[in-house]
Symmetry: C2
Subunit: 335 residues, 2 copies
């Protein structure tokens, strides 16, 4: 069995459903043998680690610890699912307060123990805010800390494939931008169904405006739907796609979905936020650009941005993020 | 993304913890894009399938159904975790009655719908008995139906690595044979720790007889320990190792652990049973031989066999398996 790298990958929240799945999937994907499982819940963590040992991945050197300093020491990659979970009926935003504090501490811990981090993915909700908060406190460049944003796009791809009765990967170019919450911007532009632009299909018998609106709503509620069906929040797809993001940096082969990235693009009207944009993810980490879309698409993106600003400002109000004007002092990479 | 084969792989019990993990891991391992998820529990199954769709594996053609005939139609590979789960405090044997009936029906369904099956792994407990029962009713040759037996050996490997403070794969040749229940035979012969035969270490200061007995007991209770630590029975390691078994047949590259196989070797004193033996697993499916070991090892294997015979005879008593003399009529491959 060969691995892409020997760099240390830390899974934060490894006793949980996402984190334990990720520990297994990281080895199955052949990312690195050097996986460190961290969680404050020792008993569950040990159980999850024992399961990984019993998998007997050749060459694996899996460790586990409840000490965050030990976990982060020498880490080159990390994925953190280590927030409080979302329960049925809760919006992502309900989780804001507790998880923003966890993210701030994570940022400080990264600054103290993992200054050479190459890439970290923050996936606990609301991820746009926890990712932003982690980045600010980590002192690292925006290319190094991102969030998982792909699932909205893969849910759109799934829903369109089911509507049109085509194979999933015959639906190409699906993109949602902005926040990962229910205020996400579902773009129509750029998507093709078996080669036909989605914009040529919307408003026809093949996909009426009502049907397209229903699909958008279905995508926006994608997380809730999994909770309704499985009785628990989604854990397999966040695990898998987060690791595919890490893989993109490890092997430099790129990543086909949008990621959440730090945006400070005042020319386009976006200031100091983290959200899904038209991103590139490779051995240099994350970089992003303004997405292209119709006027309606861009309007939805701006609306999503405004919603995120409100959440960000609440976290500033709480004292968990500093006022915008002080960000550059806390993290000189945030110009 | 490339896959080893396009052959249809059916995951039975795909709404459950093991089965849903397996659906993801089969694609992550690149076995086949043609994965069919089956479970009688429609809501949970749909939720698990949606999660897999949201993973967006390139080229994947995943289907789901609650119709066993549709699931098995054209299947070349299957793994079944579709029994009742073991709860804390239950022995594997407590599950005997209900799961033997499920296995008998599965065997009949395979006979009706998947006569061209290349390989199936039965993993619901007690797997030695459910595997045997499935095989008898399937009408297939013993090379085609086996059980997962590796976890006892990987648990032994883990425990020895932890005891000696060496990397897990520096412990080689770990083998448990016979039944997968607590009456398994943990072999000392053949195992090496960083090159030193385990038999040279047992009874020394490095591994006293008491410590070795404690490790054997720890391995025999390995499944219970996961339940105690995680609050649920093991699901990641059974998922992973079952798929590595399937992979061995798909790519013909072999499998490093023992598997449960049908044994009718009256010269060695074993009659019409399924248990872990010294097996080979490759493109021709399973074949097995009498394991080598010390007198104590072989005595433990015979004891484990006797225990399995009792369970098998209970199932015959229940009318779920025919009397031994009639097996060849039910399945002409069982000579």
């Amino acid at each position: 069995m060969s691995y892409i790298t020997n760099d240390k990958l830390v899974i934060l929240g490894a006793a949980g459903a996402i984190g334990s799945n990720m520990s297994q999937a990281a080895l199955t994907l052949g990312l690195t043998p050097n996986v460190c499982m961290y969680d404050p819940f020792e008993k569950g963590l040990q159980g999850a680690a024992e399961e990984i040992y019993h998998c007997a991945f050749p060459g694996a050197r899996v460790t586990w610890t409840t000490d965050i300093a030990e976990a982060l020491q020498g880490a080159k990659y990390l994925v953190s699912s280590g927030g409080a979970p979302r329960k049925e009926g809760m919006t992502r935003e309900d989780l804001l307060k507790g998880n923003a504090e966890i993210a701030a501490q994570l940022g400080k811990d990264i600054k103290a123990h993992a200054p050479d981090l190459k890439f970290g993915v923050i996936i606990f909700n609301p991820a746009d805010i926890t990712g932003l908060t982690t980045l600010v406190h980590s002192g690292l460049p925006p290319s190094v800390i991102g969030t998982l944003a792909a699932l909205d796009s893969t849910r759109l791809q799934t829903a369109l494939a089911q509507h049109f009765g085509v194979a999933q990967d015959e639906v190409t170019g699906c993109r949602t931008y902005g926040g990962h919450g229910e205020m996400m911007a579902v773009f129509a532009g750029g998507t093709k169904v078996a080669g036909t632009p989605l914009t040529d299909l919307i408003g026809t018998d093949k996909l009426t405006d009502e049907q397209w609106d229903a699909i958008k709503k279905h995508v926006q509620q994608g997380g809730k739907r999994i909770i309704q069906l499985r009785g628990r929040s989604s854990f397999q797809s966040p695990s898998h796609q987060s690791l595919v993001m890490v893989k993109a940096v490890m092997d430099g082969q790129g990543y086909p979905w949008p990621s959440g990235i730090y945006v400070n693009d005042q020319a386009n009207g976006f200031e100091k936020i983290m959200m899904a944009m038209a991103t590139t993810l490779d051995q240099n980490g994350l970089s992003g650009a303004m997405p292209k879309g119709s006027e309606a698409d861009i309007a939805a993106l701006r609306e999503s941005y405004q919603h995120l600003c409100k959440l960000r400002d609440e976290v500033i109000e709480m004292g968990v993020l500093p006022p915008l004007a002080e960000w550059e002092q806390v993290n000189p990479n945030l110009k």
